[in-house]
């Protein structure tokens, strides 16, 4: 046993150095991508199996909807062309293009709310890229690897987003709470804030552009003594059911 000890300590030190070294973690994340894709495919297949009998009807309905959407898309393209022309005249920046990514897996640690995406630096993603879905903001990229990236969700305790109330324009800070909610803080006790108010990004000093939906106020606590109010906010995006997301480049100020 005594002969083993120095080599054990040495291998332990080497292991610590390697495991916490970002390139090693990146390689591990890349290797994980393939099995996780397979597992997700099988899981989605199993979830979809009970729906097979109703698929024909659903398919017909979706085709109708697709035709409708194509018509709307043609109209939207026409409108976009008009907007571009107007933007050119007004010297406004062009609309930003997004990149679709799939969620490969999520953190198993209860205190860290992160997800791994199958897009990375190789696909043009950068640190602080904003991640959204059709419902609203999901989070931002905190670590970029060549083929993957790590996203900190809005509910992570370290997440901070400058936000404002869409209706009254009251500003504050949206802080993640690992209970699955966020807290809208740094708001005056007499602020115009109501339950059901929509909270959007303020676009102040961070990667988030202005006006993206963050969530809805669930309830408000007003502390007259400290002169401040805190609102509990339900994130707009279903952070526990993420499959495909849109990555936007970080806002530049």
């Amino acid at each position: 046993m005594r002969e083993v000890r120095p080599s054990l300590i040495l291998s332990l030190l080497v292991a610590i150095a390697l495991a916490v070294h970002p390139p090693v973690r990146a390689a591990f994340a890349t290797v994980l991508t393939l099995p996780l894709t397979g597992i997700k495919f099988v899981a989605r297949l199993l979830v979809a199996l009970p729906r097979v009998p109703s698929l024909a009807a659903e398919n017909a309905s979706l085709r109708d909807r697709l035709r409708q959407c194509q018509l709307e898309l043609a109209q939207a393209r026409e409108l976009a062309r008009h907007h571009r022309e107007a933007d050119t005249l007004l010297h406004l920046p062009a609309a930003r293009e997004g990149l679709v990514a799939a969620v490969m897996g999520r953190s198993t640690m209860p205190t860290q709310h992160t997800v791994l995406l199958n897009r990375g630096a190789r696909h043009g993603l950068s640190l602080d890229s904003v991640i959204v879905d059709e419902a609203g903001v999901i989070g931002r990229v905190i670590e970029v690897q060549p083929a993957t990236c790590l996203v900190m969700l809005l509910t992570d305790p370290d997440s901070r987003v400058a936000a404002l109330v869409e209706r009254s324009r009251e500003t504050g800070l949206l802080v993640g709470q690992e209970s699955g909610r966020c807290a809208f803080t740094y708001v005056a006790a007499d602020a115009d804030l109501q339950e059901g108010d929509r909270i959007v990004t303020a676009g102040l000093g961070g990667p988030f552009p202005k006006g993206l939906l963050l969530g809805t106020v669930e309830h408000i606590e007003r502390d007259v003594l400290s002169g401040s109010a805190t609102a509990s906010v339900i994130p707009a995006a279903r952070l526990s059911r993420l499959e495909e997301v849109l990555c936007l480049p970080p806002s530049t100020h």
């Binding site: 054990l8 291998s11 332990l12 292991a15 610590i16 495991a19 916490v20 090693v24 973690r25 591990f28 994340a29 994980l32 099995p35 996780l36 597992i39 997700k40 899981a43 969620v103 897996g105 999520r106 953190s107 198993t108 640690m109 209860p110 205190t111 860290q112 709310h113 992160t114 997800v115 791994l116 905190i142 670590e143 790590l150 900190m152 992570d156 305790p157 370290d158 690992e178 209970s179 699955g180 526990s240």
Partner: protein, 143 residues
Amino acid sequence: MGRFIGCLVLHQLLAGFSPSPWWVPDLTMAGLVLAIVETPRRWLTLSILAATFTLVWAARDVLPLFVGWLLAGGATRLVMSHWDVEDPRLRTALIVLASLAMSSAALWLADLWSLERVGWLLVRALMTALVVLCLQGWRNAPA
């Protein structure tokens, strides 16, 4: 090793479908302890594998969490040299204690202590114990 990898994959799969990681039993810790009980000489490799798997999703506290996994593996190895871990109840207790210690350390590192979270911690430990007992019962069942 196959069962250990299975536990890691199952944990990741359940975490992907669950509304909160608190609702998922700590199968990574369960897999690690059970694998070390089976092959004690591989405790370091298994601990490093479990740590690296977990830390792919870590946003912060990478080094403390990594050391935590090594300590959990080392402690399991140490307990094995003093007690008879053939008893499934002792193995379950070991897993629950290691999981509680790891989760408590994570809460302490993130400064997130509250009564509600302690409740979640205990619920998770209870779920882990139940799953481990079921897994061991299934493994020990006659073919």
